[in-house]
């Protein structure tokens, strides 16, 4: 793999103190992810997938270990630095979409740009363009409750894309969608990957994981396997 490394974690662990008990959500996990990779993170419930994603997305910090994001040490960053990284370099897609219920599609997609200091007119233009790119050019003024589940997730993906981040992190993006709609979303991810985006997604479903180029399986806070997907094909 010759591409530039975006994510480089070494011996990361995350320990939750529950009273006297310690919960090891992650134990000594090491992982490298390069530019324009397409990774599926799999594993049973409670194996630490979300915990790992949150750390990779700079929403959470590890108890131990080293995390270099684009060669910068995340551990030394302040809260404000982390907020800026999340704003510029990371796009989150959530299982439950997490859209602002009273804002229309454009306003929802604009949200990250609000915090990057872009002027309102530029923001709107960019948000509209991104919505067109995810196939929602005709739903700009719709509020989340006026959209189908798949359309909502597209809005959420547009919101993740709009800042042109280094990686897109999606935690079970198809978890709340039926199979057909889920497939459409996966086709969209595939397109994004072909356009050069770096994608990491968490999933329970083998079929979904089969869309990715690389599959990482976790169990009890450990990486069990990390393999190229033999069935991967460019659609």
């Amino acid at each position: 793999m010759e591409s530039k490394t975006v994510i480089d974690i070494e011996n990361i662990s995350k320990i939750y103190e529950m009273g006297t008990q310690q919960v090891f959500a992650l134990r000594d996990v090491s992982l490298k992810i390069g530019e324009n990779e397409y990774v599926a993170l799999m594993g049973p419930s409670g194996s630490g997938k979300s915990t790992l994603m949150n750390i990779l997305g700079c929403l959470d910090t590890p108890t131990d270990g080293k995390y270099l994001f684009k060669d910068e040490n995340v551990k030394e960053m302040t809260d404000n630095d982390l907020a800026e990284i999340r704003n510029r370099e990371i796009g989150f897609v959530f299982q439950t979409f997490n859209l602002l219920p009273r804002a229309n599609a454009v306003k929802n997609v604009e949200l990250p740009l609000v915090y990057s200091g872009m002027s309102p007119s530029k923001r709107e233009e960019l948000a509209e363009q991104t919505l067109i790119n995810v196939g929602l050019g005709d739903r700009m003024d719709h509020k989340p409750n006026e959209l189908s589940g798949g359309q909502r997730q597209r809005v959420a993906i547009a919101r993740a894309l709009v800042t042109n981040p280094a990686i897109i992190l999606a935690d079970e993006p198809t978890g709340n969608l039926d199979t057909k709609t889920g497939d459409e979303i996966m086709i969209l991810f595939n397109k994004l990957w072909q356009n050069g985006n770096t994608i990491i997604l968490v999933t329970h479903e083998e079929e979904v994981a089969m869309h990715a180029k690389r599959i990482i399986r976790m169990r009890d806070g450990l990486i069990e396997s990390d393999t190229e997907n033999p069935h991967f094909k460019v659609k």
């Binding site: 959470d60 404000n80 997490n98 915090y115 800042t163």
Partner: protein, 409 residues
């Protein structure tokens, strides 16, 4: 992310959370209304008093049995024991005070019915008994006819000088010199019409009838009446001397021993405005106390409502943090939101206050002055209140853990 956008966002949020906004607006506007209303009303009273005093003239003072404004029960008892001022005492005072010829006396009764040969007025015309000097001392101008003269008093002529309001009510036109009016079976000939003056503190000066003081005492007064004496010094320099001479004369007339207090009241413009400032500062403090009390209650209420809001919007806050909102921006957003609501509430309170004051001025005949300073004070109060009561909820919001917040249901 600038302040203007935060304010826009705040307005959006105000519209989205109607009940919450309504509760905050209500409490703030009541508090601001109390402070603003009291402040404005006091300003209006002050202004009216100023006008009234300038009508009296700078070199003029009054001798009365009791002060114009009394506050407290204790003082009232003291005043009630004072002897009344009767006509004989006034005559004697006129003899003894030689520094000025402008010593007038008057007495005023409650509402009387005035009849013309056409119709009767309502029983609300103030009947004034006065002498010739009274017209000089109070700067009364006539728009027709003449004032009461010393001869009218000497020969006990049944004559009257009438205000325009009265005439309009009981005569078809203002051509009334020589007409006869009847007040409680006594007939008077109209010899003059007072120039229109407008109202002071709710009393229309045009709704009065002035008759010779001795006739007033004979027909309309009983033993309880005490006369007012108005004295105009010849000039500013002589004012203090004239006051001293008057006090000395009154003490002799009243047979007061050197160690006894004056048993009459001397009022100048200054003492009247002092009395009024007692009343107005009481009103101010009263309004302020009510205002501060409601505002503190409102502040606590707002803090609680905003805490609930933060709780309800936990997920939104988590999302904003996930897409890159720094903690200080979350803090700012909620503070600005609270301040904005409070300011809107403040403006509503001011508008209600203006409306009430406006209505009050219509009923009392005072002049309405838009109190710029009270408007600014009210806005500042609302802003500070928003800042203070919004800070803690905003701080809590900014300290949320993004992951916990995102997971919140």
């Amino acid at each position: 992310m600038n302040i203007f956008e935060s304010v826009l966002m705040a307005f959006g949020s105000i519209r989205e959370h109607k009940l919450r906004s309504f509760l905050i607006l209500l409490s703030i506007s009541i508090g601001v209304f109390a402070i603003f209303g009291a402040g404005t009303f006091v300003t209006a009273i002050d202004n009216t008093v100023q006008n009234e005093m300038s009508a009296l003239g700078d070199n003029t003072f009054q001798i009365k049995r009791m002060p114009s404004i009394q506050m407290g029960r204790m003082s009232r008892r003291k005043y009630w024991r004072r002897p009344r001022i009767n006509f004989k005492q006034v005559e004697e005072l006129k003899q003894r005070v030689n520094l000025t010829p402008f010593i007038s006396t008057s007495a005023e009764g409650g509402g009387e019915i005035i009849k013309s040969r056409y119709i009767s007025s309502d029983p609300n015309v103030s009947l004034v008994g006065a002498d010739d000097i009274y017209f000089v001392n109070y700067n009364y101008d006539l728009q027709d006819g003449r004032a009461i003269s010393s001869a009218d008093i000497e020969y006990k002529r049944n004559v009257a000088v009438v205000g325009t309001d009265v005439i309009k009510k009981i005569f078809p036109n203002l051509n009334v010199i020589g007409e006869t009016i009847t007040i409680k079976n006594q007939q008077f000939e109209i010899i003059g019409i007072l120039k229109e003056k407008g109202a002071v503190l709710g009393n229309s000066q045009d709704n009065q009838v002035i008759i010779p003081i001795n006739l007033y005492l004979k027909y309309y007064a009983d033993w309880r009446l005490s006369l007012n004496v108005t004295i105009k010094a010849s000039d500013k320099v002589n004012l203090d001397k004239t006051i001293d001479q008057t006090i000395g004369a009154m003490r002799i007339i009243r047979n007061l021993k050197p160690w006894e207090d004056n048993d009459f009241e001397l009022e100048t413009n200054d003492t009247i405005s002092e009395q009024f400032s007692g009343l107005t500062s009481f009103l101010t403090v009263f309004g302020m106390l009510i205002g501060i009390f409601t505002l503190v209650a409102a502040g606590i209420g707002i803090t609680n409502i905003m805490l609930i809001t933060v709780k309800e919007r936990t997920k939104e806050i988590g999302l904003r943090m996930a897409v890159g909102a720094k903690r200080k921006w979350i803090l700012l957003q909620f503070i600005i939101e609270t301040i904005t609501i409070c300011q809107v509430g403040g403006v509503i309170g001011i508008l209600i206050g203006l409306l009430v004051v406006w209505i009050a001025t219509i009923f009392t005949g005072m002049t309405l002055i838009i109190p710029i300073d009270w408007i600014s004070i009210s806005i500042i109060i609302a802003t500070v209140l928003g800042l203070v009561s919004g800070f803690y909820p905003a701080y809590k919001a900014s300290k949320l853990d993004p992951i916990e917040a995102l997971r919140y249901e």
